[in-house]
């Protein structure tokens, strides 16, 4: 493979605390050099990308996406979903297992990861923690880990039984992998349609109280603490998905300060919107966990600023238009998110709340890479995978759902203002998106 040179950019690599003008050389799918401007001037054979005005950063990593294959190709395919991801600057995504059939076996996992799916970026997967995500019987963690699993989750549903969750945390902990938990006690959220509160009351929709989330988060933290106390050789890793309430974040903050291996993610919609966005029953503002009240939105931002949140994850959840064009209470949960993540993160976190560009990049690449143990990604260190994004951090633009690369257009951000535009996405040294 020929050389690819990225010149004149501002390299932001949180893994090495670099935030300086640098030229980057990619060779044979690896980072071959990051040097002061002009250092590669004698490389005449290389293909050159001019990144003037752009931040050059490690490609983004999303630990929580729904690519819908196998089984629901009318919503998204691995091919279309990864193109949307590339357009958003992502070079690695982690597919959730709520496919049809559920990704609970080595066969399904291999099918998803196969080159025949025509992914344009790296696809990884977290298979189900229990068979069929039914919560009854643990899947074969060892075999799945050998086949490439980067964690286990029954996403969409919590691992509800405390014994099952405890066993999953222990077994995954022995393998050095996280249990990624959708924290929801269905006994408290039964029949709930949107966030509990004044807006839900006014709209006559059943409310989903915050306690349904934080009670499970608190329980899981107690399980981690208990395992650590009784089994000093095991280091269980609890990862809490899409945290939406201040109280759950507070529990995670305390767990981290205790030294427990508890991580969490925040979704762009939860730090951008509140339950008011449901408006007159816009099903593109319906997801699980739901958009919350303003104080929760502020709590998510505070937790991103103070480091409680480990990464930004989109929970990209495509649904066909006809599936969303139904009564609000019958509409499926979820919105797309891969192409709006950077634009919202820069607008809401960087510009409005003063989070540095390096911290935004870290939340979108370096930290999620560490979270799932990818030592060669989320970094521009020499020898690492040549997964790079170049984005213009000052570009203001308007997102148009109709232009999305995703097969589905279910987003509340159609027409929303974005800050920061991806110009080039490079995966394994190949250009996979130009914007």
């Amino acid at each position: 493979m020929s050389d690819l040179l990225i010149l004149n950019g501002r390299v932001v690599d949180p893994s090495s605390n670099v935030d300086d003008p640098r030229d980057v050389l990619l060779r044979d799918g690896r980072i071959a050099g990051v040097e002061k401007p002009g250092a590669f001037a004698d490389l005449r054979e290389a293909e050159v990308l001019d990144a003037k005005g752009c931040v050059v950063a490690p490609g983004f990593i999303d630990v929580h996406v729904h690519l819908r294959e196998p089984g629901q190709g009318h919503k998204e395919t691995i091919a279309t979903g990864t193109r949307a991801a590339a357009a958003g600057g992502f070079t690695t995504v982690v597919a959730m297992p709520n496919t049809m059939p559920v990704n609970d076996s080595v066969d399904v996992l291999r099918w998803m990861l196969s080159p025949e799916r025509n992914a344009v970026i790296h696809v990884l997967a977290m298979p189900a923690a229990t068979v069929g995500s039914a919560g009854e019987e643990q899947t074969d963690f060892t075999a799945l880990a050998e086949a490439g699993a980067v964690g286990f989750t029954d996403d969409g549903k919590p691992i509800l039984q405390p014994n099952m969750m405890r066993a999953a945390l222990m077994r995954a902990g022995e393998l050095g992998l996280p249990i990624s938990q959708h924290a929801e006690d269905p006994g408290l959220s039964h029949g709930a349609i949107m966030n509990h509160g004044a807006v839900a009351f006014r709209l006559g929709l059943r409310g989903y109280p915050g306690v349904a989330e934080y009670s499970i988060v608190e329980r899981d933290i107690n399980l981690v603490r208990d395992i650590v106390a009784k089994h000093p050789g095991i280091r269980p890793h609890l990862h809490v998905q899409h945290v939406s309430t201040g109280r759950a974040l507070e529990a995670i903050r305390r767990a981290k300060s205790e030294g427990l291996h508890v991580t969490c993610e925040a979704a762009p919609h939860h730090f951008t919107l509140t339950d008011e966005a449901v408006g007159d029953y816009d099903t593109n503002a319906k997801m699980n966990p739901p958009l919350r009240a303003e104080e929760d939105r502020r709590a998510v931002i505070a937790a991103l600023l103070d480091g409680t949140v480990d990464c930004i994850a989109t929970d990209h959840a495509p649904h066909a238009r006809w599936e969303k064009e139904v009564e609000f209470d019958r509409a499926p949960n979820g919105i797309t998110g891969l192409e709006t993540a950077l634009g919202l993160a820069l607008r809401m976190l960087h510009r409005e709340n003063g989070l540095s560009l390096a911290r935004v990049v870290s939340l979108m690449s370096t930290q999620p890479a560490q979270l799932i143990g990818l030592s060669d990604r989320g970094t521009l260190r020499v020898g690492a995978d040549a997964d790079v994004v170049a984005f213009d951090p000052a570009a203001e633009w308007t997102f148009r759902a109709a232009q999305s690369r995703s097969k589905s257009k279910n987003t509340p951000f159609d027409g929303a203002g974005m800050l920061g535009r991806v110009r080039v996405t490079i995966c394994s040294g190949r250009i996979v998106h130009r914007g």
Binding site: F201, R202, F328
Partner: protein, 324 residues
């Protein structure tokens, strides 16, 4: 924070929620209600002659369905009734497709009753037709609020059905709404409409049926003690306990009856003289209200039904763009 986009993708003539209805719109509807009432039958039958209105009912209904149907027919319109029990809805046809089918068959407006809150918004967006919300889930029942308003006006001293409608029309009037507020579209519609016309709206009930979030509706007060509330009422509106929706709550019906039932005895000992008793129906005699109270002269439950017919004529004419 993102603000909701400003757009109104609904046909003029829609009546989806009282929140969309400006005070001037309320005044217009009540004025045309009176004008239609004063017409003779033949003149009325010409108002919507040759027009087609579909009634789409996904929930059972006696009062609302019959009064919409009679109102439309009295204006000369052709009506067609589609219910979920005897149509392709049973075969899984979506609300959008059902609406498009009715539109293709010539319906110029659709009256919708649906168990899902917000369903009329979906129907109005997907068909582009004027949609009249005849009750959606726990959300709204706008014509009920309008007919309740007209009933109140007819009873309140110094007002009358042709009283001028503005933001102070109901100044000094206390309306106490008691019962299952949580599940009640009638309560939401009335609370929002009456408070905008100057009424003091007091909501009354136990926390299981009246959560604190109700205060989020705006200008309303909460009172847990029915006697305290009733003592202040010019209008006491009682609501049915929706037994089918009580699953999972801890409400004790015996205790509820003791604390919140409106009996003639309670009325006579607590309420001030002349307090009007209302109920949107259906009544469960012996639960939220006793039979004697429902049948007493202070109760205007039947007049509410009659006013429903009158008000629905006006909103149907408005839906089809006919100014009366």
């Amino acid at each position: 924070m993102e603000s909701a986009p400003l757009h109104f993708p609904y046909a003029a003539g829609c009546l989806l929620t009282v929140e969309h209805l400006p005070v001037a719109g309320v005044a217009e509807i009540l004025a045309s209600t009176s004008r239609l009432e004063q017409m003779d039958a033949a003149e009325r039958a010409a108002v919507l002659a040759g027009r087609t209105i579909a009634l789409l009912f996904y929930e059972s209904s006696t009062r609302t369905r019959t009064s919409f149907e009679l109102a439309a027919k009295s204006l000369g319109a052709t009506t067609t009734l589609v219910s979920d029990k005897s149509s392709s809805i049973e075969k899984g046809e979506s609300l959008k497709d059902t609406g498009l089918t009715l539109r293709a068959l010539g319906a110029e407006a659709i009256v919708l009753r649906h168990p899902s809150s917000g369903a009329p918004f979906l129907l109005a967006r997907t068909t582009g037709l004027p949609v009249l919300n005849a009750g959606d889930g726990m959300h709204q029942h706008p014509t009920q609020a309008l007919l309740d308003l007209r009933t109140m006006l007819s009873r309140l001293p110094g007002l009358g059905v042709d009283a001028a409608i503005h933001a102070k029309t109901l100044d000094g009037v206390t309306v106490v709404i008691t019962g299952d507020i949580r599940h009640s579209r009638v309560a939401r519609s009335n609370a929002m409409l009456l408070s905008r016309l100057g009424a003091r709206v007091v909501l009354c009930g136990p926390p299981e049926l009246l959560p604190d979030e109700a205060l989020g509706m705006g200008a309303v007060e909460l009172e847990r003690d029915f006697d305290v509330a009733l003592r202040q009422a010019n209008v006491a509106m009682m609501l049915r306990i929706q037994k089918e929706r009580l699953a999972g709550t801890t409400l004790d019906l015996g205790e509820y009856i003791a604390r919140y039932q409106l009996s003639l005895e309670r009325y006579r000992t607590v309420a001030r003289a002349g307090t009007t008793v209302m109920h949107p129906g259906p009544i469960i005699r012996g639960l939220e209200i006793t039979g004697e109270m429902a049948d007493a002269p202070e109760s205007v439950i039947e007049e509410q039904v009659t006013q429903g017919l009158a008000v629905r004529r006006a909103v149907l004419a408005r839906a089809l763009g006919v100014h009366v």
